[in-house]
């Protein structure tokens, strides 16, 4: 894609000023790192880091049938989502394939905010509209007018609390607060395995909030650290660890699928749950030297039994880690496998998720 066609968030100039190295990502020009992936990773594990995730999409669903409509769209049980709560789910195709993974928030006024991945936002919207027939619900694309920051790490809450006019929401809850001079939806969510918040606000306020956070000592973090942080705790990256060719059962996301709700794709997911799947997504660690990378073959003995979908060096563990799909009979933690890293055999072991936990 030509650089001129890439979209920029309202923080583009701030990223340049902070020394960000900007790269194309899902049609956006985004910072992959500032000071360095290792330092940014450590800041989130030990202090506080901020990610510009304004490239992610926000879809507002409102109207008398909003709840009934979303129940039809997302895989989780939307009736279990309380006012001020947050819920993770899959957006499935009719055949059960995973079109995206979503966080939905139920606001005080009865409307829902759903956060989509940047690369899928337009197709998600199309799926929402496709499924809306017969429901008295309005689907609104808020992405063009909204920005989002993820402030993550053990010190993230105290920093954000000092900029907010009220108490921060508990984990997996939301609150509408004034933060750094702007009204914002503050969510006790994130994708790093650390405590923290995600802040959704209008584009006008995000530069001021970003500057206040940096002034308070929060480390600007890029997509590189975001990827190592989420992989250590085995959070899926759509497009790598799952996609339209994988159903939630083989992806290990059966826990957020409630087929009894009858969501679009529920029958296929129920069948996969009942029948089992040929492959399963597993997490693994390299037990000798080397770093697995996306696309590397997974071996059992000399046989190819799968493919790496995410692979990286783990800054917290100091070893190569990854996720990938393997034959279901090999998916048990403790199973010895090997990764073919560009022609070199690297011994590895399937591990329990998450690969990294605070107690490590």
């Amino acid at each position: 894609m030509n650089a001129a066609e890439l979209r920029r968030t309202p923080l583009y100039e701030e990223h340049v000023a902070a020394g960000g190295r900007l790269v194309p990502f899902a049609g956006w020009e985004m910072p992959v790192q500032y000071e360095g992936v290792a330092a940014e990773h450590a800041a989130v594990r030990e202090g506080a880091g901020v990610f510009d995730v304004s490239h992610m999409g926000e879809i507002k669903t409102s109207g008398p049938d909003a709840a009934r409509f979303l129940q039809h769209v997302v895989s989780n049980d939307i009736d279990k989502l309380v006012t001020g709560g947050a819920q993770y789910s899959c957006l499935c195709a009719d055949d059960g394939g995973i079109l995206d993974d979503l966080f939905s928030y139920l606001l005080e006024d009865g409307s829902y905010f759903t956060v989509s991945n940047a690369a899928n936002h337009e197709s998600d919207l199309a799926r929402f509209h496709e499924l809306a027939a017969g429901f008295d619900a309005e689907v609104e694309d808020l992405a063009p007018s909204h920005s989002m920051l993820a402030v993550q790490g053990p010190e993230a809450r105290s920093v954000v609390a000092a900029l907010a006019d009220g108490e921060l929401p508990a984990r997996m809850h939301t609150a509408t607060l004034d933060v750094a001079g702007s009204q914002a939806l503050v969510c006790g969510t994130g994708y790093t395995g650390e405590d923290g918040v995600e802040i959704i606000l209008g584009n006008d306020g995000v530069v001021a909030l970003w500057r206040e956070l940096l002034a308070a000592g929060v480390t600007p973090c890029g997509l590189g650290a975001r990827d190592t942080l989420r992989l250590e705790v085995c959070f899926h990256l759509h497009g790598n660890d799952m996609g339209p060719d994988r159903n939630p059962i083989e992806a290990g996301l059966g826990w957020c699928c409630k087929e009894a709700t009858g969501f679009a794709g529920a029958e296929a997911v129920a069948a996969a749950r009942a029948d089992g799947t040929a492959e399963r997504l597993v997490a693994f660690a390299i037990t000798d030297r080397g770093i697995p990378r996306e696309g590397n073959p997974i071996l059992a003995g000399e046989d190819r039994v799968g493919t790496v979908t995410s692979g990286s060096f783990s800054p917290s563990l100091g070893i190569g880690i990854g996720m990938g799909y393997v034959r279901t009979d090999l998916a048990e933690p403790g199973t010895t496998i090997a990764i073919d890293v560009r022609g070199r055999r690297r011994e590895a072991e399937i591990r329990t998720k998450p690969l990294y936990a605070k107690s490590n």
Binding site: V32, V37, R289, F313, P315
Partner: protein
Amino acid sequence: MATEESYPEDLRYHPEHDWARIEGDEATFGVTWFAQDSLGDVVFFDPPEVGATISKDEPYTEVESVKAVSDVIAPLSGEILAVNDEAGTNPELINTDPYGKGWMVKVRLSDPAEVDTLLDAAAYKALISE
């Protein structure tokens, strides 16, 4: 992580961001400040085999940052006499001391005349500022 940007005058440079320190018919190779800065935090370096033959302009080893793998190109041809196992154990040396403790291999040159094809520090600096 890294040191100040520098390109020592006593080294010769390959356009693929490698340096060579020439000592008679032997030379030491590594990657430049520019290369390590582009890579970011180096987290893996598997030294090649002593005794291996390497060819100018061809990859002879790899370095890996957290996010990416990069080939390292041989600035000159020859046979590997020694490898930097310390940088294999502590790959961050390639960031912190790219011209010193971050060296990669020592080579007996098979064609010392190839040295004349390499860039001096001024020419390499001109290349990377283009």
